[in-house]
């Protein structure tokens, strides 16, 4: 009898993990289903250049035009009050080198006196048939790196 009583008094110290594991597996399943595996971002293009792209700050404002000549060369024109202020002709060995040149040209402009005094408010890109969309996005990236937010693309005519 005394042995039986002793057995009844024994405390079961084990934790019941069943519900905990159930909950964890449910959460893992839900998160696996709702997980985003490919991070898709967006580059905003504002096509209403003529009306909405007007300057709002008191700082001197400039407009930038990036005109592709072909895959490896482009012209950058910086305008002030609609008039040509500066022009850069860029010609490189490869499209990748051209993007780097665009980047360094913009960097040079930002470091110049005019660049420090004013701000490029709007930018327009004029594409060419041989320039791919991927290369145009790289050029857009280069412009956005210098905080140029109002970027538009000129709808060009030409054979596809």
């Amino acid at each position: 009898m005394s042995e039986l009583r002793r057995k009844h008094r024994e405390i079961n110290a084990e934790l019941n993990l069943t519900t905990f594991i159930d909950l964890l597996s449910t959460i893992v399943c839900f998160l696996l289903i709702s997980a985003v595996w490919i991070q898709v971002g967006a580059l905003e293009i504002k096509q209403s250049h003529g009306t909405a792209g007007a300057s709002t700050s008191k700082k001197e404002s400039y407009e930038l035009e990036l005109k592709y000549v072909n895959k490896k060369s482009a012209n950058i024109v910086i305008k002030r009050d609609g008039k040509r202020f500066r022009r850069y002709r860029l010609k490189e060995e490869s499209p990748e080198a051209l993007i780097k040149k665009i980047d360094s040209t913009l960097d040079g402009w930002m470091q110049s006196k005019s660049g420090k005094r004013g701000k490029i408010e709007t930018a327009m890109i004029t594409p060419k048939r041989e320039v791919t969309y991927g290369e145009m996005v790289l050029a857009l990236d280069a412009l956005r790196k210098y905080k140029i937010v109002n970027i538009g693309v000129v709808p060009t005519k030409g054979e596809i």
């Binding site: 490919i38 594409p127 041989e130 969309y133 790289l138 857009l140």
Partner: protein, 174 residues
């Protein structure tokens, strides 16, 4: 009262030892049957923590088949809007085929009418709100930039002036 054989051999020390040994073996077998859940629970908890950290509630747009998006370092979070997909030779609006790109660019009537319908349904669904003009464009990175610029011209002509170009990576908080 029946006397069992074990009761008859109580004085035999060998038997007692043998019985004890057998009991010990039985106990050992029972111990082996228990599952060690600690590592599994640890792994589950770590998985849940990692996935909760990477969880995002931003809208996700489906990338159409045959479209390789270009890479970017200045991309921002995607907004919910109609999706215009463009692979190497076909054009889709919200995953519905519009036609061959070259044909659509020459005669954009079908695309224009669908864009107008989408705008009207948006205005109906959001009474009193100004139309934002958001549209997502996802195009293959090898498509000519002129095609994209012409499409942008058509789209912006229908009051879709905030064009979001879908890119891979570089998602920054606004």
């Amino acid at each position: 009262m029946a006397i069992g054989s074990s009761a008859l051999n109580t004085g035999n020390f060998e038997h007692v030892l043998l019985n004890r040994n057998q009991r010990g073996k039985r106990r050992g077998k029972v111990l082996q049957a228990t599952l060690m859940l600690t590592s599994m629970v640890d792994m589950f908890s770590m998985l849940v923590c990692f996935m909760l950290q990477t969880f995002s509630s931003t809208p996700e747009i489906l990338v159409a088949k045959g479209v390789t998006l270009p890479d970017s370092i200045t991309g921002k979070t995607v907004k919910e809007a109609p999706v215009l997909s463009l692979n190497k030779d076909e054009l889709f609006l919200d995953q519905k085929l519009i036609g061959k790109t070259a044909v659509v660019l020459k005669k954009p009537d079908q695309l224009v009418s669908k864009l107008i319908d989408l705008r009207k349904s948006w205005v109906k669904a959001h009474p009193g709100e100004a139309f934002g003009g958001d549209i997502n464009v996802q195009a293959d990175k090898d498509v000519s930039s002129v095609v994209i610029s012409q499409l942008m011209g058509i789209v912006s002509g229908q009051h879709y002036s905030a064009i979001q170009l879908a890119v891979l990576g570089g998602v920054q908080a606004e």
